[in-house]
Symmetry: C2
Subunit: 285 residues, 2 copies
């Protein structure tokens, strides 16, 4: 049995400090880097990121949409970038936000978590609108391979709050049940504490710009991916306050646009990533 | 300005009857059809479906996960299948269940709804865990091109119910707000009735196996995609009762496994699709 995803992340964070560096070749950043809006431009961008981030950050997060935008040719570039990440020893979270049911979810799990898949990553982000239970094929495959499933719980954008704060119906008694986000966090904690054969398999995406919910994140038992640092207004100090009490190496603040603005020079990008990692290490203790 | 997606669907349904035929080349069906679990097998399966369904059903729904499972090679096959659908005059809903925010959502919208994309479809399924407002880039691009965004609202699987039935917080007054699913349906109706420049742009996925919610679906103003027919227990009569009052041509019951079990012979598959379309036309009046 492999060690769990959270253990692998904590080991990497212990070496470099805690940061998830986005690989987000959107149209604007391609232009800013002087690259063509083509698969070739995408490839240069992605491989430059890997060169810059290797050994400096523990985890990278390619945003699948920016590759999918160019169809099969874009996905072929993503396969190459994922291979370069593996060769560089970077842990990879594929930011795909997939979610479905039954044999369809089997297929998404296989695409992103099967070690023999051309798109194999160390973890994949998933959406649980169809219920966390619907993600079971991904949870099982992740646990079997020491990989992770990171479930979107609290987004950093305001449009998501009404749904995420909605109250589930109480299963017994009179009052309302938990908020949707807290229901999911509770289910994730249960999976990490005995619900799956490998602890630390399931993580949560929790925006770094939000006030805490009523759920005690220190007991989640999995990785917390916290987007919103930089361009969306999140700060290292804010992340430190929001995730106080969480075990060392379990919180991954995620920076994308603010970091990638330091490109296209790989050296400048590497220096910015190292500085951000150091700031996060101080803030998160 | 193009005519809206709902208008295009209604015109197609008027010719053939209402049915969305799934193109679901999962591992089991590939084996059942005597095809290899390879991109070549995927290609034969997909093109056979197009051959069988052309002129018999109004809409097909390729399940993206089964192509993504094979990485870039799988997506190249999907591009070819989508092209064959266009040539055959079939409307295509790409069942991708995508959902994100900002420039990431821009990229997903472009991948599936930009007419120049290699993956261009007539509509794409999306998930609104991050809020319906986060899907705005897809809504705008769809409206501009007479295409559709079909939002997953009520899934046919039981694991999704606690989230979908959760009560949003009331914006004023004392009592609880609408259920998450009814909030989304209300927002979709608003978009179809003036919120977007083209009526009928936004649809909803509503499982054909469920009891009605409190929302009056006859006023949705967009396409209802209703999975769960056949293998998941939904029937034509049940769909007729659930969607009574919805305007003609707006409800698309969706059948996948139960229909595809009639392959690999294209003639047998075509006959089964025609029979199902006829049954649905009777049930939905």
């Amino acid at each position: 049995m492999s060690e769990g995803f959270a253990t692998r992340v904590a080991a990497a964070v212990a070496t470099t400090g805690p940061l998830c560096a986005g690989i987000d070749p959107n149209r604007q950043l391609l232009a800013d880097w002087g690259l063509d809006d083509t698969p070739a431009g995408l490839r240069t961008f992605g491989l430059r990121c890997v060169e810059a981030f290797a050994s400096v950050v523990p985890v990278v997060k390619p945003q699948v949409a920016f590759f999918e935008r160019m169809g099969a040719a874009g996905l072929a570039v993503l396969e190459e970038v994922l291979g370069a990440c593996r060769d560089a020893g970077l842990l990879v979270i594929a930011d795909a936000k997939r979610g479905d049911i039954g044999s369809t979810m089997d297929a998404y799990a296989e695409a992103w978590l099967d070690p023999t898949s051309p798109l194999a990553a160390d973890a994949v982000t998933c959406v649980a609108y169809l219920g966390l239970g619907a993600l079971q094929p991904a949870l099982d495959l992740a646990a079997a391979g020491g990989k992770g499933v990171i479930v979107v719980v609290r987004s950093s954008n305001p449009e998501g709050r009404p749904l995420q704060e909605a109250r589930t119906l109480a299963t017994a008694g009179d009052g309302p049940g938990a908020a949707v986000e807290d229901m999911l966090l509770g289910e994730i904690a249960d999976l990490n504490h005995g619900g799956l054969p490998v602890a630390g398999t399931v993580g949560a995406v929790i925006g770094a710009t939000l006030e805490p919910s009523s759920f005690d994140l220190s007991g989640l038992g999995g990785v917390i991916l916290a987007p919103g640092i930089g361009a969306q207004g999140g700060t290292a100090a804010g992340a430190g306050a929001l995730f106080a009490g969480c075990p060392a190496g379990t919180v991954l603040p995620s920076a994308s646009r603010s970091l990638l603005a330091h490109g296209p020079d790989a050296g400048a990008l590497r220096a910015a990533a190292a500085a951000e990692c150091e700031a996060m290490a101080r803030a998160l203790g």
